[in-house]
């Protein structure tokens, strides 16, 4: 019920993100979602990709520091208030969200969540009949 998120360490340098997208593109790896966390001198690029193991292999071979993290990906209706209802349930059950990112398309929105307690988060989401994606 969880999926693997790929994270890449990047220096704040013009064109550096494109180095990653170029390598992934060259190897036919598709990016489904990504977000960027930045500080003054470096950033962490977080990605959901089509072939995660291959992505790790090709990026490592180009000397990138990468790691995999288990995250939960849910779908909810693309209407006002739907995400709020889910987050409220998670908060009630004391699940802390370290970070999340989302995008909406058509009548559906996909949300990637990195909770402090993955197992419990999945459990809670199941109980409230939230739609959990086992792949993106």
């Amino acid at each position: 019920m969880t999926i693997k998120q790929l994270s890449v360490f990047l220096e704040n340098k013009t064109g550096r993100i494109n180095e990653v997208t170029k390598i992934l593109g060259k190897h036919g790896i598709n990016m489904h979602a990504f977000s960027m966390a930045e500080s003054t001198d470096f950033g962490i690029l977080r990605l959901i990709v089509s072939e995660v193991d291959k992505a790790v292999e090709v990026l490592r071979s180009e000397s990138f520091a990468v790691m995999l993290t288990d995250v939960v990906c849910i779908s909810c209706p693309n209407v006002a208030g739907s995400l709020s209802a889910i987050l409220e349930t998670l908060a009630e059950k004391e699940i802390f969200i370290e970070y999340m990112y989302a995008f909406a398309e058509g009548d559906k929105a996909n949300v990637v969540i990195r909770p402090n307690d993955l197992e419990k988060c999945v459990q809670v989401l199941k109980e409230c009949s939230c739609s959990i994606n086992s792949k993106f």
């Binding site: 994270s7 220096e11 966390a37 962490i44 000397s63 990138f64 520091a65 990468v66 993290t69």
Partner: protein
């Protein structure tokens, strides 16, 4: 004005005789009181009787910073502990600081040579003088302080920090002289303007600047912006502290107090003594020191000695500006920093590759230090909080070892340039020419 014409204007022959006598006495003293020197001399088959004049100094062994560290803390001390009245320490590269003990007589010599410097700059009993070097283990603050007192001027022990308050004191107490680093002097000028004041609002007329290399252009800028005349002061804690040499009104080379500190220039490769007028590594022998005397201490500072007569009337040998170092030491905000110190810290942290680069710059007249390190692949985390904590942990350790704060920049693995042979670890972007 000359504080001590008997010594500062001595004929060259008299100086030679005085130095010869003092060197003989010094060598006998260290031979009998410091096992390190006795062993070295015995290895060289040298006895104190072999030293008959100052010219025989070339027979004597050198002392290096490493020797001082190896003999931490009191191994090179010649005087018994009961005679030591003060200890100063300078930062160490691998944990061991350099410890220097002073006897009561050493402190008297120090305030004597400092009074000579201050008098040459034009300071008199009527002046109020601010010492804005750090007070504490660093020799700058207390060294200058007792010189001002000895001369009879009023000393204001400002130390470092709170620049606005300092400027108010300069204005309200009619402070006429200041001792600080040249970069701090420029910072002072900037703060003055920020407070809506000009050099006309304060009455500074004399600046004693040292503890870091500076240039003629910096002198012009400081003089223009603070409305004073700026003079070089040179010293190092291993020899005494500030007051080893000083500029006179000519502002052209620094007179060495060579009745106490005998200077030589050597070729740092062959260790051969070089003639006046040739650039090389500066070496000092403390002719009169009791606490921790040193024979032929290699300063690693590169400069030239001159013995042409000076229009000021002083007869002592002068040294030119420090043109660089024969090792990789950096002076950042007046603090000595070795790349090896940074390396030793990085090696204790498994989160980082042993690759690093120090980038030194001068921003708004203050030195900045950035330490670039590569994050090990296995320690990279998708958690920003953990990455920032890693960065802060290194910054904190660097601060405690270097005594100055460094800006840590986390780099991708493999991004710092690898060199064949001797690694390049420093990019110094400061313009000192």
């Amino acid at each position: 004005m000359i504080w001590n014409p008997n010594k500062e204007c001595m004929s060259r022959d008299e100086m030679h005789a005085l130095q010869s006598k003092r060197l003989q006495k010094l060598v006998t003293y260290v031979y009998h009181n410091v096992p390190f020197y006795r062993n070295k001399m015995q290895e060289m088959d040298l006895s104190p009787e072999d030293i008959r004049s100052i010219d025989d100094i070339v027979k004597l062994p050198f002392t290096t910073k490493q020797d001082l560290r190896d003999n931490y803390p009191y191994g090179l001390q010649a005087a018994p502990p009961s005679e030591i009245v003060r200890v100063h320490a300078s930062s160490g590269t691998t944990g061991n600081p350099t410890i220097v003990g002073y006897t009561r007589k050493d402190l008297a010599v120090w305030s004597e040579v400092m009074a000579r410097c201050l008098t040459a700059y034009g300071v008199t009993r009527d002046d109020t003088f601010s010492v804005a070097y750090g007070y504490g283990l660093f020799t700058g603050g207390l060294g200058a302080h007792y010189g001002v007192e000895n001369l009879g001027a009023t000393v204001i022990p400002t130390s470092t920090g709170n620049t606005e308050k300092h400027i108010r004191l300069i204005r309200d107490l009619k402070i006429s002289g200041i001792a600080c680093t040249p970069s701090y002097a420029l910072y002072l000028a900037e703060t003055l303007n920020k407070m809506g004041l000009t050099k006309e609002d304060i009455g500074l007329r004399i600046g004693a600047f040292g503890a870091e290399p500076w240039t003629e252009n910096m002198r012009k800028e400081i003089e223009e912006r603070l409305g004073l005349k700026g003079y070089n002061i040179y010293g190092l804690s291993e020899i005494m502290g500030p007051g080893v040499s000083y500029e006179c009104q000519e502002q052209n080379g620094s007179h060495i107090n060579e009745d106490h500190f005998y200077p030589e220039i050597i070729n740092p490769e062959t260790l051969e003594q070089l003639p006046y007028g040739t650039q090389g590594e500066l070496v000092f022998t403390t002719l009169t020191k009791e606490g921790m005397p040193v024979l032929r201490y290699r300063t690693k500072d590169l400069c030239t000695l001159y013995n042409d007569p000076c229009p000021c009337g002083r007869t002592s040998v002068k040294m030119g500006r420090i043109m660089g170092r024969s090792d990789d030491m950096l002076i950042i905000r007046g603090i000595n920093v070795f790349p090896s110190q940074v390396e030793s810290v990085i090696l204790t942290m498994k989160e980082f590759e042993p690759q690093y680069m120090l980038v030194v710059d001068r921003v708004k007249n203050l030195d900045t230090l950035q330490v670039q390190v590569e994050v090990r692949k296995d320690f990279f985390s998708d958690d920003m909080g953990r990455m920032l904590a890693m960065k802060k942990a290194l910054a904190d350790k660097l601060k405690s070892v270097l005594s100055i704060s460094a800006d840590v920049k986390l780099m991708e693995p493999g991004s710092i340039e690898r060199s064949q042979g001797k690694g390049k670890h420093v990019i110094d972007n400061r313009k000192l020419v």
